[in-house]
């Protein structure tokens, strides 16, 4: 199997998170921009600690992931853990497909057919998923150039509107502020699907895994802080009531050549959702194959695609898609899958190695 490089890992993880970050970074409680920035810093600091077991496992067992290690310990445990991850990735796929469709319908073009769009996105992402980690990672590297260029253009176009006085401290008492920060940290951890994705990706990275992972966390923090800073400083308190703040910023941006940057945002957003769904389908397919080892890898990816797309389309058809409440999986899910399971597997394997 082709390996991926550390920069490719960074970009792949970045797009996994980037879709959510450019959609809506804060929780539905709509906090101040400064609260989001403070929470993001705390959340990333926690994530530096959370990834340590996964890194330790990757260092000790460089060619096997946590699932394979758990299978070595017990087949039942391995299947159970695979099932948990499968549900998590499938749920996240449904969530991303639905969110994309929901926001597209409510902000861009209300007349389009949701089912067709979600089906087309799922099929395209499935095709990318069949090409493997290496192909998707290469695509994310190329897309990163487009992503960064687009953001730089948008930022330059709104620099003149930057108002430092919009960056006021949160207007809340200490207790209220603490509660708000805690809620945002939890929300941010809940959105960090990449913590779970890492478990599967790290064995595919050829070198500099630790540096790559820590660089990713640093870049993520920088991106969240910078985008929130721009949104808050340019849009002011109005940003708090928005469902797609970065999109609104792009519509406000204006240069002497281009009037509105909606299309630039749309381009970046579509790339991010495509790469994220492709990665999730790959991971889901891998989990399904772990449970049913005789299943063909691409068929397992196809089954995950079909199930996720059918669920998302059904929910959209029932008009029950409340994206704001259905915003992200919870922080406990990220903590259990991204930290506790790797830690437990690592401890069990260590004891086994010591005994042997």
């Amino acid at each position: 199997m082709k390996k991926i490089t550390a920069p490719q890992l960074i970009f792949l993880l970045f797009f996994t998170r980037g879709f959510l970050s450019i959609t809506y970074e804060a929780s539905q409680f709509r906090p101040d921009g400064t609260t989001v920035m403070l929470s993001a810093a705390i959340s990333v600091a926690i994530q530096f600690l959370l990834v340590l077991p996964v890194l330790a496992a990757a260092k000790k067992f460089p060619h096997r992931d946590i699932i394979q290690l758990s299978f070595e310990r017990s087949a039942v445990a391995g299947k159970f853990i695979s099932l948990l991850f499968l549900c998590y990735f499938a749920f996240e796929t449904v969530h991303v497909l639905g969110n994309f469709s929901y926001f597209l319908k409510n902000h861009f073009f209300e007349a389009y057919h949701e089912a067709f769009l979600m089906a087309a996105l799922a099929v395209t992402a499935f095709y990318a998923a069949t090409l493997g980690f290496s192909a998707v990672a290469r695509a994310s590297s190329v897309s990163a150039v487009i992503f960064i260029t687009a953001l730089v253009v948008i930022v330059f176009a709104v620099t003149g509107e930057f108002d430092v006085y919009n960056l006021h401290m949160p207007i809340a008492d200490e207790k209220e502020l603490f509660g708000s920060v805690l809620r945002e940290v939890g929300d941010s951890l809940g959105r960090s699907v990449e913590l779970a994705a890492l478990i599967f990706l790290l064995p595919h990275v050829e070198n500099r895994r630790t540096a790559g992972l820590f660089s990713y966390l640093g870049i993520k923090l920088l991106f969240v802080e910078f985008s929130t800073l721009m949104i808050t400083a340019v849009l002011g308190d109005y940003a708090k009531g928005l469902t797609l703040p970065l999109y609104t910023l792009s519509t406000y941006a204006r240069s002497s050549v281009i009037e509105r940057f909606d299309s630039v945002y749309m381009l970046v957003w579509t790339i991010a959702v495509f790469l994220k769904v492709a990665l999730l389908l790959m991971l889901g397919g891998q989990c399904l194959k772990n449970i049913f080892p005789k299943l063909n890898e691409n068929i397992s990816k196809g089954l995950v695609t079909a199930a996720a797309a059918a669920t998302a389309i059904s929910l959209a058809a029932l008009d029950r898609w409340d994206s704001l409440l259905f915003r992200s999986p919870s922080a406990p899910a990220s903590l259990i899958l991204g930290f506790l399971i790797p830690l437990a597997v690592l401890l069990f394997c260590r004891r086994k190695t010591e005994r042997s």
């Binding site: 389009y112 499935f126 919009n166």
Partner: protein, 392 residues
């Protein structure tokens, strides 16, 4: 071909087919069947309903080579009534048989009949419309909004370009604040429901005969009575100040200049300085303005340190350079005093971003007075220190 190859090719074919074949399945509106809205005017009709006037793009061609004749106004104004702005717009759409596209809207103007209306409520529809540009200029009219929109300005490719140029020019020359939708919405959401916006007025002047036209042609237009034909123009006459989300008064040009100095928005303003009954014109350009907010027992105190450059355009002035600087400094201080006296003293309105500055510098104090911030504003003191230098 293996199963993997088959799956890949099928998936690729499905994706490409979906992209190519389904793009025509969604209903859309052809651009020729759209009303390209350039400006929206809102008035209140006698029956209590809102009268929404849309200035729409209507190209006047002068032959096949020039589908857009820049010597024409290239616009049309249509009006519709409704219980709210949205209904008024729908009425306009029904009249024209096309759906309105608001993505090119450049101006939202409120007529004098809606001075007492809640601005936030009137802007509600614009906030909900995703196509609407957040930087769109928001202004008040001294007359009716429809009257302002109906003035045909023929210097640019479309009338709205000229209207925006007039407002921008007024801002650049220190005549009035330029209000945009985003800034206004942020200010309206403050506890005092504040805001500022330029005020436009329709003025009538004698028409300037066009090249090739005889000067007597105007007489014919006015029915041969010998009266010179009149042409309508737009003028920015001052800055509207909002309080509790409603129009509460207007700052004249002098007071508007003070407002611009105190909000760091001033670029250049033309003033008349007077030395021993010999007035002369000067242009003051803001070089650096620093605003500092203080809070003590007596309340809020805004201190502004203004450094401005003086340019005397083509005149010989008798007084010394030091005296010119002194006069300019006095002028700036007088403008600021006039603005604060009118906005804070008479209207009790926060036109100077005091709430925003307090949130930034004293968040705890703001939290304490959040519900009665207007009372802090009413006692706020503004101290101006101006320093001018002469441009050689």
């Amino acid at each position: 071909m293996g199963i993997v190859g088959l799956i890949r090719k099928t998936a690729a074919a499905a994706a490409v087919s979906a992209a190519l074949l389904l793009c025509g399945c969604s209903p859309d509106t052809d651009i020729s069947k759209r009303l390209i809205v350039h400006a929206v005017g809102i008035d209140k009709a006698e029956d209590g309903q809102y009268q929404v006037s849309l200035q729409i793009f209507s190209p006047s061609g002068s032959g096949s080579d020039t589908p857009l004749d820049p010597s024409q106004a290239n616009m049309k104004v249509i009006s519709g009534k409704g219980k709210n702005v949205q209904e008024g717009v729908r009425e306009c759409e029904n009249i024209m048989g096309s759906s309105a596209f608001i993505g090119h809207n450049r101006l939202i103007i409120f007529g004098s009949s809606v001075y007492d209306e809640d601005m936030d409520k009137l802007l509600g529809w614009f906030k909900k419309e995703n196509a609407n540009y957040l930087g769109v200029t928001v202004a008040y009219a001294e007359n009716s909004a429809k009257e302002v929109l109906s003035v045909p300005l023929t210097d640019g490719s479309s009338t709205i370009e000229n209207v925006n140029d007039i407002i921008r020019f007024a801002k650049d020359k220190g005549i009035a604040e330029k209000g945009d939708l985003l800034t206004l919405m942020n200010k309206l959401n403050e506890s005092g429901g504040n805001g500022v916006a330029p005020v436009l007025s329709v003025v009538e002047q004698d028409a300037v005969p066009k090249e090739g036209e005889e000067s007597s042609s105007g007489g014919e237009e006015s029915g041969g009575s010998g009266e010179k034909p009149k042409e309508k123009y737009l003028e920015v006459v001052g800055t509207a100040v909002l309080k509790d989300r409603k129009f509460c008064g207007m700052l004249n040009k002098e007071e508007s200049a003070g407002l611009l100095w105190l909000t760091k928005e001033m670029q250049t303003c033309s003033v008349t300085l007077n030395e021993a009954d010999e007035p002369f014109n000067a242009e003051l350009t803001d070089r650096n303005t620093e605003l500092r907010l203080f809070c003590d027992e007596s309340g809020l105190r805004l201190e502004a340190d203004i450094t401005a450059e003086i340019r005397i355009p083509g005149e010989t002035v008798r007084c010394s350079p030091d005296r010119i600087c002194e006069l300019a400094e006095e002028k700036i201080a007088a403008q600021c005093r006039a603005a604060s006296k009118k906005a804070i003293g008479e209207m009790g309105a926060d036109a100077f971003d005091l709430e925003k500055l307090t949130k930034f510098y004293f968040p705890q104090l703001y939290r304490k007075h959040k519900d009665d911030f207007s009372s802090l504003v009413a006692t706020a003191d503004i101290i101006v220190k101006a320093e001018c230098f002469l441009n050689d």
